[in-house]
């Protein structure tokens, strides 16, 4: 094992145990100091990451004439320049860029998600002729139609109550049961991962 890796492992284990002790014994000052160091390091890492990203795409732009890299570089430099101008002039150009560029783009991507999910659901049986596929499709149809019908006036009043009960049953029993199980699994996984980090077995910082 190299010395560099040993130092990293020692640092992670040491500060992990130190944070655990601070949480167990409610030493808020210690955890705050450690969290301040972590935030500082994260800020430096963010700067280094941004600079590395800029250099990489500059290299790809001038060596490979990659236009996407050029757009990325221009976006970074544009936002940075807007932030500098906001600081100097007191304008709100950064929020304008966010509202006129980033928000529509993310909303469009989210809309596409609905399209992709619908397409996948439609072609599900084309890909897989399994019972689970049928169950997934039936559940999706029930939930979509149930939510939509219950909210709309299209569902007759006589069917509203049974449909509502079905939807409630699915959401409160089936979905909640599944999510609780998922959360328990996540908690167990988090605990195990924390132990591995404290024991130095799991080393995400060496990847």
């Amino acid at each position: 094992m190299k010395l560099k890796q040993s130092i990293a492992i020692f640092t992670a284990v040491f500060f992990g145990l130190l944070t655990l002790v601070a949480l167990l014994f409610n030493v808020s000052g210690l955890s705050s100091v450690i969290l301040g160091w972590a935030s500082f390091l994260a800020a430096i890492a963010l700067i280094l990451g941004v600079m590395n990203l800029l250099l990489v795409h500059l290299t790809r732009l001038f060596k490979e004439q990659n236009l996407y890299s050029g757009v990325l570089v221009l976006s970074i430099l544009g936002v940075f320049a807007a932030a500098v101008l906001d600081g100097l002039t007191g304008s709100n150009s950064v929020n304008a860029l966010f509202n006129w560029v980033q928000a529509p783009l993310e909303a469009a991507l989210a809309s596409l998600l609905a399209v992709f999910l619908l397409l996948a659901g439609v072609q599900l049986l084309k890909r897989q002729h399994t019972g689970w596929a049928v169950l997934f499709s039936v559940t999706a149809v029930v939930m979509l139609l149930g939510q939509a019908l219950l909210t709309s006036r299209l569902l007759p009043a006589g069917l509203r109550q049974p449909v509502n009960q079905i939807v409630e049953f699915v959401q409160n029993v089936v979905v909640t049961a599944g999510l609780r199980g998922l959360l328990i699994g996540v908690a167990l996984g988090t605990l195990l991962l924390s132990l591995r980090l404290l024991m130095g077995v799991e080393r995400p910082y060496n990847k």
């Binding site: 808020s28 966010f98 909303a107 619908l118 599900l124 149809v141 709309s152 959401q171 959360l183």
Partner: protein
Amino acid sequence: MSNEITCKECGYKNPHSSKFCNNCGAKLPLSTHIICPNCATPNTRDRIFCDTCGTRLVAEHPQLKPEDPIESQPLNKPFSLPARRPGDTGELNPNAVPDWLRTGNIGADKSGQAEEDEDAPAGGRDTSDLPDWLVHDSDPDPIINAPTTISTEFYRDLLERAEDLPQPDDLFPDEAGSNLPDWLSDAADGGNEAEASQGLTDWLSDLADGDEGAATAVADDDDDDEDATSVGLTDWLADLDDDADTADVHAADNAAALNDLLSAQPNEEADSSDWLSELGPPQTDVLPEQQEDLNVEDLPGWMDELGPIQTNLLDPAQLAELTGPLRGTADEAEDFFDDDAGEDVSFTDLFETSRGATESLPDWLEDAAEKGESFLLDLPDESEEPVEAEEPEIISEADSDWFTVEEIVSQTDLDWLADTGNLDKIDDEARHELERLHETADLFDDGLDELQDEVLVEDELLANDESLADDEDDDFDWLSDMAAIQTGELTIDEIPSAEMAVPSLDEPEDEAPEEPEPALESDSWSSDTFLAETAVAEDLPAWLDELGENAETAESPEMDLSSEDLPEWIASMRPSQGIFGSELPGVLSDMDIRDTLEGIPEELAGGELPDWLKDAPPDTRPARPLVDINVDATQKIPDWLQPDPPGAKAAGSPLLPAEDAAPGGSRNEWRFLLENLPPLTPLAESLPKADIPEWIQQLKPPELTGQPPRDLHGPEETVGPLKGMQGVIAIEPAIARPRTASPLLPHVTTPEQLQQAALLHQIARETPTTVTTLSANAPYSTAVWLRIGLAVLLFVAILVGLRGPNLLATNGTVPANVQAVATAVSSAAGQPVLMAIEYTPAMAGELTSQAQMLLAQLAANGSQVVIASQYAAGTAVAETLTADTEAQIIGYLPGEGIGLRQLGECFAGRNTCDQLNGRVLPAELQASLSEIGLVIVVTGDRDNLVNWVEQVGQVAPDVPLVAGVTQALTPLTRSYASTGQIAGLLGGAPEARLYAQLIGQPASGLEAQLNAQVIGQLLAGVLLIIGLVVYGTTGLVNGRRANK
């Protein structure tokens, strides 16, 4: 070649003889070749003994018997094809190979032979089949003995024996003057004078004693002397008579080759000695080179000391006989018989001790003594340059001891010299002269190195035949011509000594050969010429010259030099029959040549004298008489030497045949020798051919012998791939030993291998299925129109709902959770209310209406609104919502659950909250936070709702929490509402419409939005039903079709 063993497992290279891999431990393959019979340890082939237990791996006496190779070999054996030498195509006959060579076990063979042949010597080996050159003289064992056992000890013994043999380094020691051959260097060694003289071949000794030999030749008249002539000569010289016919044919070739050989020698000093040494006895015997300008001091020491060498042959009795007349008049006779008298007594000493005897010298000797140092200049052919002759000191230095002694010996060893009584007349001046000459002779020892330069000069002079011919008249080797003079064949003329100018001794030595003399005829050169051309000959003392003049007054002017007249010890010095035909008895006649060789140094005996010379038996064939005549020299020969004995004249020269005896003198002699040289053949051919034993002859391939190929013999192979073949050479036992291979490890199949094999088998058995290619256009086209159709329907439904008829039901029942919200908000009237805007613009269409109704109600109740958000975009949304109101905005709340917990601690005064998440809060805000009476969370995100409920509700349970959520998050929120963690809940647009009706606020926009939502939900439900029916039916139909 690497002996490393590569591991098959890991590829590691292990050192040889490793059993297991040094890297992975895997067992290594056996790369060795010899398995120890004792411990089964594999050993490499180069080991004789086992590396583990020391057991001998290769048997000393192979158990394999050639007559029964099959039985002694294991059945499972390797084989080898019959081997033969490269290029040999003859059939190998194993029976033709000697047993000891075939088996490598001489002892066994010999023992077997001993049983068969009882006559064979027990201790030695039978050398009858070996040639003489392979058998040592004194050792009956052959020089190259077949080994009894081919082992390491055999080769070690062979090497030791080889070390005992004379080595090349021994023959050419690195000493001063080492460029000369050892036989020359050793001759110059005063300590081994006697041995050196004995080690010299007769021809060499005769060259040095040419004068003496010539003198003895005078008395040699009979043909019986010819036998002794060949005693010291080699066979080829002894065979001159027999090879005369063929030698005449090759004479010219020999002379030309000799000239080429001599002229081709380089002028470097180092090479000059080499070629001398390489010439060897058969070639150097023709090379007493001429050297006209050679000074006496340039002569080598070995020549200088030839005089003492001769005296070494004298025993005390002989010395007493010789010095009898001298001893009587000697003043110090006791010095004459010192310990060294018999070993190294020179005639210089002799004269020193016989000082008183000079009184008996003849007048001419006395006169010579009176002349002192200048008498040497009065030679018979003295130079016409009296100026140089008048320099007595130079002349005395130029003279050599040996020369002087030789001249004296040639006369003092005669009885006439002793009988003259004139020796008494030799005065002290003469003695001093001799002493000085003796001292100067030591200088010649230092001139050995310079001899090489002079040899080069000799080469040039040798090639100068014409000048030699011209100088024939100057040949005054009167001593060597005495025989001819006595026989009357020689007429004495005046010597034209005009050209015999004595070179100035002051001149540098290297100036002499600068102007080479005209070419001489190589065949006209002789030892006499050599002496005549040298300054030594020219510088003969005058008393010697006068000796001839006073010869008439001598008491024995016609002295017969027969054996009767010579002292016995002098006669014994010569070969029994005379070297040059002399009949005088000598020590050499009775001396076996091998006995003589035993006395010489070991290096000289082993190196210079080849075996063929040692083995040469005394040749008893009559030697051709030689004639060494210098007619011109007789003019200077004393008269007492000129009377020709009738017998000598009739017999002619003993050296030359009678028909070759011509006035040419020494030239004829050398011509005769050159003409009778054996054909110049390569050294290998000139050597006597060895007798190859029969068993080696049998090994010769049939192609070389011309014999038809032999039939294959030998045992027939009965097993193996060579079954039916004959003549297969037995396999080396070490190779034939079967290798003990380790058993193969059992193959273990692993489960993985089995699984892989099963998978491979399954894939192989499956029928190939055709790959169905899905059409990309059909689903895409369907989806496109479906998507577009659905989007259009939804868009129409929203438009219809917003602009169409109102389908909402009126007077609906207000749920309890909605009423609880109104109650909580009313309860918090007048108190600060924290409203968390935890949504982004994506959820603004559904939640913004709730937030606006709640903000309006709070404003109506007079509650201070504090805005916070865990989303950065939520802060912007909040600022937009509170643009028209006076709300306090905390801003972004980092830290998720911890941040919300810390915020919750600010409620109810638990924490001062002067700083919140690293930010300093204003005092108004801190006061508002401490007085918060209601927390309203408007969110569409589950995590945010959970953090607020679980973190803030836990630390601030007294502060009610009301949630306005989306219709999708309503089920989750109901769970908290059912437990009381949430005081009120507004679930989606339907409950918001009811809440608006409850508090009496207008909700026109909210109703249009809800109407569009309802129409869209109906449309979606209908479409889902259609999709379920259509695709459900289609799927069922297709499924049935597929099942059918």
